[in-house]
Structures are given as C-alpha cells and as structure tokens.
C-alpha cells in the first residue's frame, strides 16, 4: 500500500485522512487470512468509514452496463457489503476514516479481535503517533514519505496534486482532477458529484471522498 503513503499535502491537510489497513504475510500468516480480512472490514464498517476497499474494488465503482437514464438517476450509494463479501484471497484490505476518533475506535476493536494480521496506519506522522498513544500500541516500524522529487518540473499545481495523489496507483489522472476542479468552479458539478466521479477511478477503495470534497470546496474560491 505504498499507494497511500505519498499523498500530497502537509500534516494539517491530513486531519481528515486516516487509513487503516490489514495485510497478511505470505507463508507466515496467510492461512485463513480471507475470513480475518473480512472481519477487519466488518469492524471498520461499524465505524462509518469514508471509503473501504478489498484491493480489487472499493465502495465507489464504475458500472460496465449503464442504463442511458444514468444522466438523471445514477445510483451513488456506497456498497460496503459487496466489498466485504468479495474478499476471496489473501491481500490488502483497507478503510479510510475522516477523523482520528473514528480511526481509534475502529483500531481498538481490531486490537480486541486479535486477528494476527499486520495492521498499518497511513496518515500524518503525528496523527499515527496520537492514535498509538490513544490505544496503548507501540509502533513496530515506520516508513516516512519524503514526497516527490521532480527535477524536470513535470508536476501540476498543488490542488491537482492533492486530488489526484489520493489514488496512489495513479488511476485518477491530473487531467481528470483538473476537469473536476474546473467543473466545480464553473458550477457544472457539485463537489459531491465531482468526488464520486474521481473516487470511481480508484480501484482499491482508498480514495478519501471527505478530504476530496473539502479540497474541492476550498478550490472553488482559492485558486492556486
């Protein structure tokens, strides 16, 4: 899940971005992992995550067979039950929370469940430290993001980067993020509609729609 490590922003901008994920280790604790992964997701689902994914798809998904009436009546509800049921092999499962309180509450229940899988948190350095203090956990290992090195000046402005890097696999293109920023500024889409469009491109369900909505609302009046 390096795909959650390199989100663009400073510590303050991650105040509504806490990702918990569970991962089995091949040959060490992958026997019976599928049911434990489902249990992890069921626990997270009880704490109102902003998004959730099983590595293959998240709670926002594109539809391969759209009815033409979609332009007026598109189903935009989040579907956690299918995400949980569709876990079918050992791999990473993740949930995104919009507050430290929700992440800590979910983490407490995960600790009690004693799944035996590796549990990681991806957020600001301070945010993870505070979650550990709240739950009495001692960190085992830590990986710092040193951000992007761009000596040839390829990258776009910070608003586009903030939106697009929330899918670390790069499925939310710069151009799509920019298009949604423009559509929101022009009043052609609401931030909610734009967020759902962006989140559907993230196949593993770690795109944070709450943070994206906040960024789009800010961008409406503050162009960088």
């Amino acid at each position: 899940m390096t795909n959650t490590l390199h989100r663009y922003g400073d510590s303050e901008s991650f105040r509504d971005d806490y990702i918990l994920f569970a991962i089995p280790c091949r040959g060490k604790n992958d026997e019976g992992a599928v049911e434990k992964q489902r249990q992890f997701l069921r626990i997270c689902a009880r704490h109102k995550p902003a998004n959730m994914g099983n590595g293959n798809f998240g709670s926002y998904r594109p539809c391969p067979e759209l009815n033409p009436t979609v332009h007026w009546r598109r189903d935009t509800s989040q579907d956690y039950a299918t995400v949980i049921e569709a876990v079918n092999k050992p791999g990473t499962v993740a949930a995104v929370f919009e507050s430290r309180e929700a992440a800590v509450a979910a983490l407490r229940e995960v600790i009690q469940a004693d799944l035996g899988l590796s549990i990681n948190m991806s957020t600001s350095v301070e945010g993870a430290h505070q979650c550990c203090q709240s739950t009495g956990l001692t960190r085992h290992s830590v990986e710092y993001s040193l951000g992007f090195w761009d000596p040839q000046d390829h990258l776009p402005n910070s608003q586009v980067l903030e939106l697009s890097t929330m899918c670390g696999h790069g499925m939310v293109s710069f151009n799509m993020a920019k298009k949604m920023l423009d559509m929101v500024r022009e009043g052609r889409r609401t931030p909610d509609q734009a967020v759902r469009t962006l989140a559907r491109f993230c196949p593993c369900g770690v795109y944070n729609p709450i943070r994206a909505k906040r960024l789009l609302e800010q961008a409406r009046t503050q162009q960088r």
């Binding site: 899940m1 390096t2 490590l5 390199h6 922003g9 400073d10 510590s11 991650f14 280790c25 091949r26 040959g27 060490k28 604790n29 026997e31 019976g32 594109p62 391969p64 759209l66 979609v70 332009h71 791999g91 990473t92 995960v110 899988l117 590796s118 549990i119 990681n120 948190m121 991806s122 957020t123 600001s124 350095v125 550990c132 956990l137 001692t138 960190r139 085992h140 290992s141 830590v142 990986e143 710092y144 993001s145 040193l146 951000g147 992007f148 090195w149 761009d150 040839q152 390829h154 790069g170 499925m171 293109s173 151009n175 799509m176 052609r188 469009t197 559907r200 491109f201 196949p203 593993c204």
Partner: protein, 284 residues
C-alpha cells in the same frame, strides 16, 4: 488498449481520463485514438469508465444535431457511451506495461498486486528491515508522469555502484540481468510504464549517502520520483535515528505509514518453527 473506430463517437470523455494523456481525437478520422507508444496499458479507460452500450450511429446523429444548434453538452464525465474500448492480448515485452501499470494485475514474482513487496507493512512478521537498517522504496513515474525502463536502469546502476542490497522479491530486481551492475533486460528498456518501485536496504547511517546518490541520478532522467524510507522502531515504539538523520540533511516528511505491531505468525508449520525461535517468539 485499442478504441474501436466503428463504435467511438468522438465525445472526448476519455481524453482527461487517461493518466498518461495518450488519448486524442484524430482529426483525420474524427475518432478518439490512442498514442500507442505513450499508452502504458493501465486499463484506466477500459475499467475506470462506466459504459453505456448505445447505438453509435444514433449518438453521432444526436451530437451532430446538438452541435449545429450550439447546444452545450453536460454528459457524465466518466462514461463511454458506446463501450468502444477493447482490451488486447499483449506479448512480451509490451505486456510488462500492463503488469507494472494496472494495479489489478498480479506480479508473478511477488504474488501480490502492486509494484513492490510487502515492505515494512508486514515487518512485524517478516522482519524485512531490522534494527539499525533502513529500507528504501524508490518509486519512478509517480504521480502521473510514467517512466521508461531505460531511466529506471540509470538509477539502479547508480545504486549498484554504491553496493546496496536490492530486495530479492521485488519485480524490478527480477528484471535485472545482473544485480551487481543493476542492468535490466535490454529488450525492456524502451517500454513505458505508469510506475515501478525499486526496493533496497542499507545500514541506517548510510541514508544520506544513498539519498544523495538517488537525487543525483534523478537529475539525469525524464520522470518524477516518490521516495519512502523506513526503519524499525525501538522497543518503546520510538524512532529518532532515521528521523534525526533526515532532518539533519534537510529532508522533510509529513506523512508516514506505521506498522502497529499486531501481526504474528499463525500458519501452523511456521508457528511450530517460531516456537523454537527466540527472535520470532518475542514478536507479538
């Protein structure tokens, strides 16, 4: 990836969707077309867009009529109205593009989705990065720029000269013809991918030297890098050695991935082995 010209209605919805900006409307045929050399086979267009299955002739007629009267279209921005994308069977070396660019394709070398290994995510069980060691996750092409293998090779060769250890299970390591020199398979060098990760390990005190080498090599290549550096925390969960070195040498970091130490060996055979292993037994 291909676009079926019989189905495409040149609505242009797919153009901003492509992470590589490889789709454009070809004025000669009035259809969306893919720049085959720039396409990294990530499948974002094929999988990420929702698909209607409308009659292309009907859609083109309606669009022509609307254009005549200067109507402004407000279509759903992530829909292909005629399901015009066609996924191709790929052969070596082009298939490397899909393997490295589509996150839903599993790397045979690691058995997991994604571009690297489990890194420190399972360090509480796998002990990949030990006390006094630093693990590096050097990602090329991300975000949104892409990279050719020839540029990756420039950096792997620079790293090889430093004598660092390449992670054996990493997909890029598998593509090396010679780990001592960092050289990659020559028939891959011109292939473009969305991103790739090189994983190495060194003693923690070598972090500034290794990062300086990566920074120097990055100036010679036409892409972006995303850098992650990891280490194991002490018994109280503290970590001052690596963070101190990073701060001393001017590297800033805001975000981190934290392994919370809740994993343990549970596979039956491995658990028996672990029972006799003092090191593993101490792990929660």
């Amino acid at each position: 990836m291909q676009i079926d010209p019989k189905k495409c209605v040149a609505c242009g919805n797919c153009i901003p969707v492509c992470p590589m900006g490889a789709i454009y409307i070809d004025p000669a045929i009035q259809r969306a077309t893919i720049n085959y050399d720039e396409c990294v086979e990530c499948s974002t267009c094929f999988r990420g867009m929702s698909q209607e299955h409308l009659n292309p002739v009907l859609v083109r007629s309606v669009r022509r009529l609307a254009k005549l009267f200067r109507f402004r279209f407000e279509p759903e921005p992530d829909v292909c109205p005629t399901a015009a994308f066609v996924m191709e069977e790929l052969e070596w070396p082009r298939i490397a593009r899909r393997v490295f660019s589509d996150p839903l394709v599993e790397h045979k070398s690691t058995g997991i989705h994604g571009r690297g290994t489990e890194e420190v995510k399972t360090n509480d069980v796998a002990h990949r990065v030990g006390v006094g060691e630093a693990g590096y996750v050097i990602e090329f092409g991300r975000p949104g720029v892409g990279v050719r293998f020839r540029d990756i090779q420039k950096v792997t060769m620079a790293l090889a000269r430093l004598g660092v250890a390449f992670e054996a299970k990493n997909p890029i390591t598998h593509l090396m013809t010679d780990q001592a020199s960092g050289a990659l398979k020559p028939d891959l060098l011109n292939e473009k991918i969305l991103s790739a990760i090189v994983e190495i390990k060194s003693a923690v005190e070598r972090v500034p030297e290794v990062l300086e080498a990566v920074q120097e090599a990055s100036r010679q290549i036409d892409t972006v890098l995303a850098i992650g550096v990891s280490t194991r925390c002490d018994s109280s969960g503290g970590e001052k050695v690596l963070s101190g070195l990073l701060e001393e040498h001017g590297y800033t970091y805001h975000r981190a991935k934290t392994n919370l130490g809740l994993g343990r060996v549970t596979n039956v055979q491995k658990a028996k082995e672990a029972a006799g292993d003092q090191y593993l037994a101490s792990v929660r």
